[in-house]
């Protein structure tokens, strides 16, 4: 028997699916309406029970969309509000700016590639990988220019590591300011990164004696550049070409970027085009006038690379309010640029007493780590905090402890214990406590 052409099959299936969609038009409208109100919260859920058992919903009584209806799959339209957002007043424009990952809505420890926060200094370039090159030169025996194909021939490896802008939470130094978790902590993401260890490339070009620093430079309109110490380059720095199993996203530096695990996101140069090996730091703009930490005595710390241990409760949070008293799975994210998260504690009374939480899922060094805790909410107001302890024994500090050392003008590396104020109605707001 002759098989119908693939396209023909597709067309027929689509039509059937469509007619199935169209038949119960009234039901479909109701479905869309209830679906949308479901997004509004669980209160609406009770009213949306039209298709709860024993009723059968229309999508069960019709055919669905065919394969490759979306050749590159997209999230359900019901997830349309799970997106990156920016804070307009933060920067002069959206070209040299930042967007935030919706931490309240993501699960596990991997940030979907399309939700990884963006940071541009001169906008996102559109780069043809066939026209992109990586030049490695300076104090090396064999300066080379690599095409992307050539770079990908080196032995490669993968690692799950967080990426965090050192300014994450920086708006909170002088007091609680942002109204949502997305904006208090969302300059933070975690991906599986695949690429070539920088140490492999350095061995190939032959680093000369006296070489201590590497200038990494991007191909974007700001030619973004940072100096990286040789110790890090030889430790775990990775020249990355893939993220979560697919080519690096344009927002993340397509076709290649640097990842310095556990260090300031700013050092992880995107659209990487050049590595110059030298004897001393290059004192670029983003390691002098910016990304230095001003202390109360007027001195500024430079090359403050490590992102210290930090954590935040993601449920409850302003975006995830509670819906009446009862049992809840409180959860959140913890991370440390110095290694693995060893423990996380949770307080409900603003830090007077603490309960150890459970670490759930994978615990990778320098990666986001999930924690959770079963909690019976009696409906009374609470001040909810989390506290991360990493494998070096470092304990996440309070605002009081952090400000005692650093004042409140240092912009970067704010890793203080965060407080959510849970109100009796279940809503959650951002506060700072004594």
């Amino acid at each position: 028997m002759r098989q119908p052409k693939v396209e023909e099959t597709d067309r027929l299936l689509t039509e059937i699916a469509k007619s199935g969609d169209q038949l119960p038009a009234a039901e479909r409208r109701q479905f869309l309406k209830s679906g949308l109100s479901m997004l509004g919260g669980a209160a609406a859920l009770a009213g949306a029970a039209k298709y709860a058992p024993p009723n059968v919903p229309p999508w069960t009584k019709s055919l669905g969309a065919p394969v490759i209806a979306d050749p590159y799959g997209q999230p359900s339209p019901f997830e349309k509000d799970v997106v990156r957002r920016n804070v307009p007043w933060l920067t002069a424009d959206r070209i040299a700016s930042i967007s935030f990952t919706p931490l309240a809505d993501i699960k596990g420890i991997i940030t979907p590639s399309g939700l990884v926060f963006e940071r541009y200094h001169a906008g996102r370039p559109e780069i043809d990988p066939d026209e992109h090159h990586l030049m490695i030169h300076g104090m090396v025996d064999r300066p080379i220019i690599l095409s992307m194909d050539e770079l990908m021939r080196f032995p490669s490896t993968s690692m799950i590591r967080f990426l965090e802008c050192p300014a994450n939470g920086g708006m909170e130094w002088r007091g609680a300011q942002m109204t949502k978790l997305q904006f208090t902590h969302g300059m933070l993401s975690c991906c599986e990164w695949t690429g070539v260890l920088l140490s492999t490339i350095l061995a190939e070009v032959g680093v000369q004696k006296g070489a201590n620093w590497i200038l990494a430079e991007g191909a974007d309109g700001s030619l973004m550049s940072r100096s990286i110490p040789m110790e890090k380059a030889l430790d775990d720095a990775l020249v990355v070409f893939a993220q979560n199993g697919e080519a690096l996203r344009r927002e993340q530096g397509y076709p290649i970027r640097l990842i310095n695990p556990g260090w300031e996101g700013n050092t992880c140069i995107k659209w990487l085009r050049r590595l110059e090996i030298g004897d001393s730091p290059y004192y670029q703009r983003e390691e002098t006038s910016k990304y230095t930490d001003l202390m109360p005595d007027g001195k500024a710390r430079e090359f403050t690379f490590v992102q210290e241990a930090n954590s935040v409760v993601t449920t409850p949070s302003p975006e995830n309010p509670l819906k009446g008293k009862g049992k809840y799975w409180l959860e959140g994210l913890a991370w440390s640029g110095r290694g693995k998260v060893k423990a996380v504690d949770v307080s409900f009374d603003g830090g007077i007493s603490w309960r150890p939480a459970r670490l759930t899922g994978m615990i990778e060094p320098r990666a986001l780590t999930r924690f959770g805790l079963e909690w019976d909410w009696d409906g009374s107001p609470a001040l909810i905090q989390s506290r991360c302890i990493d494998e070096t024994g470092y304990v996440q500090p309070t605002y009081t402890q952090l400000r005692a050392v650093r004042g409140s003008s240092s912009i970067y590396h704010k890793n203080a214990i965060h407080t959510w104020r849970l109100h009796a109605d279940g809503s959650v707001t951002n506060v700072q406590v004594s």
Binding site: P88, W89, A92, D93, I95, A96, H121, A122, M135, I136, H137, D141, I144, I145, L146, S147, R153, G175, A176, Q177, M178, T179, A203, E204, V205, G206, L215, E217, G221, L234, E276, S280, P281, Y283, Q284, R285, S289, T292, L294, G298, K299, A300, R301, E302, F305, V306, D345, G351, I352, W354, L383, E391, G393, Y394, P397, V405, S409, V431, Q432, V433
Partner: protein, 315 residues
């Protein structure tokens, strides 16, 4: 200079584990053969390197031949920089302040400028050369970069008005006034302990956001919403993604989208001419429109759609 974080409070066991891990890494790396083992890529020639090696180091290494005067810098600065940074380096809107702020680093609101905070003049030259002016990065000649650098130093009272910056005069200005106030990273610098009970006597809320969610939403003024009747969605999208950076604020002499008076004369030129100017670039009285606003990734159709959107908004 740079110091690695102390391996403090490490248990003996974890240290051993770490050493073993480090040894394992070394073994893996040792498997990588010597220089040129893979032989990938092409050996870079001096000429190829020179084309991309644009960084300038504090001691002046990397400086190109040439020179630039404060006098020439003033004209260039007014033309290329003042629309964002202000005629006196005071900054326009949220764009960086370049001058002033001396003695404010210990104050509640420190003003971090070239004169008050930056450490090296090389950073200034390097950054202007690689990334400025903002809408047209890497467009200045070496002479122009010298001149603008000299002028920014002048704005900070660091040189006289007859100063000429070159490799020969570099040492006089290489170190900026705040040079000695940068220190290595001493972290970990907090000594929090893992207390579980009675960790403090009482807790008070000391700070809450003063802006409401509604105010946050209202502040979202960077996205231009099309006026009623302007259904050019593609144009709106291109405008917001590419043109808004200058035409929202009037940066670089760009006519602001909502400045209807300024647009009147332009409208008289006709749509076709304005689209041509936008695609090919145009030198106007108030400022320069770079080809495609510097966004060479945009197609001609994209630019035309944006121009049509803007004209409909301006009418």
């Amino acid at each position: 200079m740079f110091r690695f974080p102390k391996l403090y409070k490490f248990k003996r066991l974890s240290l051993i584990v770490l050493l073993v891990a480090a040894f394992a890494t070394t073994v893996v790396n040792a498997k990588v053969k010597g220089v040129g083992h893979y032989g990938y890529g092409k050996v870079a020639t001096a000429e190829e390197i020179a084309g991309w090696d644009i960084d300038i180091r504090p001691d002046g290494r990397g400086l190109p031949p040439g020179s630039g005067s404060v006098e020439d810098g003033e004209i260039l600065y007014e033309d290329q920089c003042a629309s964002c940074h202000g005629s006196f380096g005071e900054g326009v809107g949220k764009y960086p302040v370049l001058a002033g702020g001396e003695g404010t680093l210990t104050e509640e609101r420190p003003e971090k400028t070239v004169g008050s905070f930056w450490a090296h003049t090389s950073t200034l030259f390097d950054y202007i050369r690689r990334a400025m002016p903002f809408p047209q990065p890497a467009s200045l000649s070496d002479e122009e970069t010298y001149a603008i650098t000299a002028y920014v130093l002048y704005l900070n009272d660091l040189v006289e008005d007859d100063f000429v910056l070159s490799q020969d005069t570099w040492d006089e200005v290489a170190k900026l006034p705040n040079n000695s106030n940068f220190v290595p990273d001493p972290r970990p610098d907090t000594q929090a302990v893992r207390c579980m009970k009675d960790c403090k006597k009482e807790v008070k809320i000391v700070s809450e956001p003063t802006i409401t969610a509604e105010e946050v939403a209202a502040a979202d003024d960077t996205i231009v919403k099309a006026a009623a009747g302007n259904e050019n969605e593609k144009g709106a999208s291109v405008y917001n993604g590419a043109c808004a950076v200058c035409h929202n604020s009037g940066v670089a002499g760009a006519p602001k989208l909502d400045d209807k008076a300024t647009w009147k004369a332009r409208l008289a030129l006709g749509e076709a001419t304005l689209i041509k100017h936008a695609i090919e670039g145009f030198q106007g009285d108030a400022g320069m429109m770079p080809p495609k606003g510097g966004r060479m990734d945009l197609s001609d159709e994209d630019v035309a759609a944006a121009v049509k959107f803007m004209l409909a908004e301006a009418e």
